[in-house]
Symmetry: C4
Subunit: 271 residues, 4 copies
């Protein structure tokens, strides 16, 4: 099918922007990744009071430069994609808009009363972080393994929550409001902090019984971490197996190494 020069150019740009197989496409992705990273660093620096006081003006300029760059990128994406509406409503399409919108909204509604809201909106540009995930290669295997183990992981989290709720309630009864356990939700928060071996130390047991329960909970959390690890390890090894598993065309044995040229059981050449 002959293509018009314009649609060929559009297709050329689509490949650069949306695909990363060509050298130009890869260069575009890496550049974008660096720009996103830099813009996030700027937002973070702006939140430090001393930096905002001294370098507030330059940071605002940089912020607008980034916003305009990302706006141009978004418009180009809309132009070159095959089905613009489908892209605009996709997960990344929405993220792309959310990551540039806050700066414009600050420009449009420059009222004093909106200051707090603005702060919240600005932070939404942090969604740019999620854009990074798309550009990093190899994340898919992990996502597939987590997806395959989602039932077991859900059960595990439910189990952890059940233990946390019961332990938090018991600690609320044992230690009471005097020991910092002012309510059951606080106790559950403490139990989660304890069972994950986080241990902030903002709330700690003082009674003997409370300390005994804490020890049991800590040992449980310490030992039970084996569960998600065991689940994911077996899931990952399954997927690793999937990647390398071509059956021998002659004897049908599976599980060959990735670089196998001959079947290790019957010696027949692999296709």
């Amino acid at each position: 099918m002959p293509e018009s020069p314009r649609s060929a150019r559009r297709e050329h740009w689509r490949e650069i922007i949306f695909e990363s197989e060509t050298p130009a496409g890869r260069r575009f992705d890496v550049t974008l990744l660096w720009l996103i990273g830099l813009s996030i660093v700027c937002v973070m620096l702006e939140s430090v009071p001393s930096i905002k006081r001294d370098y507030g003006q330059p940071l605002l300029v940089i912020e607008w430069v980034f916003t305009i760059l990302f706006t141009l990128e978004y418009l180009t994406r809309l132009c070159v994609v095959h089905r613009p509406l489908c892209y605009a409503r996709s997960f990344y399409g929405i993220i792309d808009v959310l990551s540039i919108l806050p700066t414009y909204l600050i420009g449009v509604f420059p009222g004093l009363q909106a200051l707090l809201v603005i702060r919240v909106l600005r932070m939404m540009r942090m969604f740019r972080v999620f854009k990074m995930a798309r550009h990093v290669n190899g994340a898919e295997l992990l996502v597939r393994a987590l997806y395959g183990a989602r039932a077991k992981i859900t059960v595990f989290f439910a189990f952890m929550l059940a233990i946390s709720v019961v332990s938090g309630t018991l600690m609320y009864l044992i230690e009471g409001p005097e020991g910092g356990f002012t309510s059951i939700p606080t106790g559950v928060y403490w139990a989660v902090v304890t069972i994950t071996t986080l241990g902030f130390g903002d709330i700690t047991p003082v009674t003997t019984l409370g300390r005994l329960l804490t020890s049991v909970l800590a040992l449980t959390g310490y030992a039970v971490i084996a569960v998600p690890t065991g689940i994911l390890t077996s899931e990952l090894s399954k997927l690793d197996g999937d990647d390398t598993s071509d059956a021998c065309p002659s004897c049908g044995v599976h599980g060959h190494l990735p670089d196998a040229r001959f079947c290790r059981r019957c010696g027949a050449p692999m296709a």
Copy 2:
């Protein structure tokens, strides 16, 4: 065997309430799960002083609604089950009673002196959490893996406790009551908090020798976590094999290795 319409209806309800294979049974289980979750949230909210002051009355009403619902559920279970006494004395039968009893006891003994006891009794409704485990699918594999590894896990816990007792005693001798290590049980509590890498920081070493021992203990706990993980991972991978294997067509035994060509129990060829 022809059944009377009444026993057929009873059997129909038994399937809905006790089994989860039919769509109606699954819907019943999910509804019950949500009700249990909501009732737990209510108990948790009631324990927050500010919420209890403002919304104490509505929460009491909701509490009674839940209690009556769960009581009806318990009575229906007793009616439709084949052997009611056997169910009533089973683990879940007892949990079902314990999760509704406290509210009634508060109603029957409304004395001031019983207030503290009541608080404890109310919290027993938290046992409803354990009821959730029954309704979540897929928990069985984990339970079987933990059951299969119970001997090794017991040894591991004994080993951890032995290290904790010895380390706690040594720290009690090294740091002494001045450093917060007021007794050997306190030292053991600190050792458990340290070896599980929880690290509250309510008791910390100040002497050089104490810090050296803490470093050794922390590194031990950090490295030794590999033990339960290794145990459970190999146990889970064994059980995973069980799930994916076919039964022997001749004797029906499960759990064959993936490359099995003959049944390991009766020697019959596998299909």
Copy 3:
């Protein structure tokens, strides 16, 4: 070879005390285990100031009862063992003496000035904890796995120590004595506490650079825990394989399940 009745009786007792295959031997071991556990609980309780004040006298009596019992046990062991000197100089022989000696030494030197030394000596009875390990079944597999991986584990610990020393030194330079990092050893202690994700919080970074290094160190410790886990998991799975691996007498294939009666590859009966 005919044995005299006396040597037969001695051999009978030796089997009860040193072996745990016979029912009598197992019963002896379990009883001893409980006695050791109880004696440790008594020493721990004695260290709590309030309990010592109220129950000091009964605890002293119980302490002497335990010491006499363990002394009798030690003498019986010496009598019935084949080579008493060899046992007395073995690891457990020395531990057995150390676990009874302190009580006698307190009795022999009852001076005021020796009080502190006595406290140290009494605690040595905690070595009884190590005796428990001998009596718990199934610990051997773990010990063998740890022994097989000792080279890798040593390398891992050396690596962790090297990172801790370098990080601790850097933090000493970055944060300085003002931030609690009073010397390089203190910095190394902090680095060990951080890299093991223990995190007491007694010493925390306050400068931006210090917090950046802390984040890097925490992420390193978080990710690097995979190393000992990976080492031990592969070591344990190797040993698990060892346990179940009888070769098929007909075709020589290894790796059968523990309950296999027929080879899964050729169908021949297993011996």
Copy 4:
């Protein structure tokens, strides 16, 4: 090829210093390892104020002895190595220089104003720690496993950082400067400390929403640790296979599966 006695002697020394196959070479390495360890302990002791005051003079002498010994070692290495320039510019060549330079610089510039810089330079001798890694056997397998999994580990770290940045920003918005979250970088530092289950407790949430987010973050960090563990375990088990397999007798390729009967590269039967 006949060698001159001098080049033979040089080669003999090269083997002792650079290789560890011969008994003399192993003895040299172990001696050097101990010397490096001792010199690091000296630097650490010197940083403790009380020790520096009392033993400053002897420590300075020991420091110079170590520096001269390591200088001689470095010069000998330069003499006996085949390509001195190549060694001098290699990673370990630079480390070797950096580990002796600071002491000389303190001797050359003995000004008051340089005191702080001197302190930094002295600490650079800590790079000697890295020299230890070269001398410990068996570290290579771990390095190879980490190298093989570098893509997945990078993705994992990027994922952790993304979660930390987003969580830290959210906590900055939720808790605000009053709760210790003074800026987004501080929030990100807190998020890293929390997700790695380090939990210093220097900054802790106080609002209900903040505690809820903390619980979610802690559970995420607790479960997600399964990812690097799973990655490395499967990588190590792959490499373990490499170690135990025989080379193909025909083409010399390593890394066959345990049950291989034919070489997967050339198809020749394995012995």
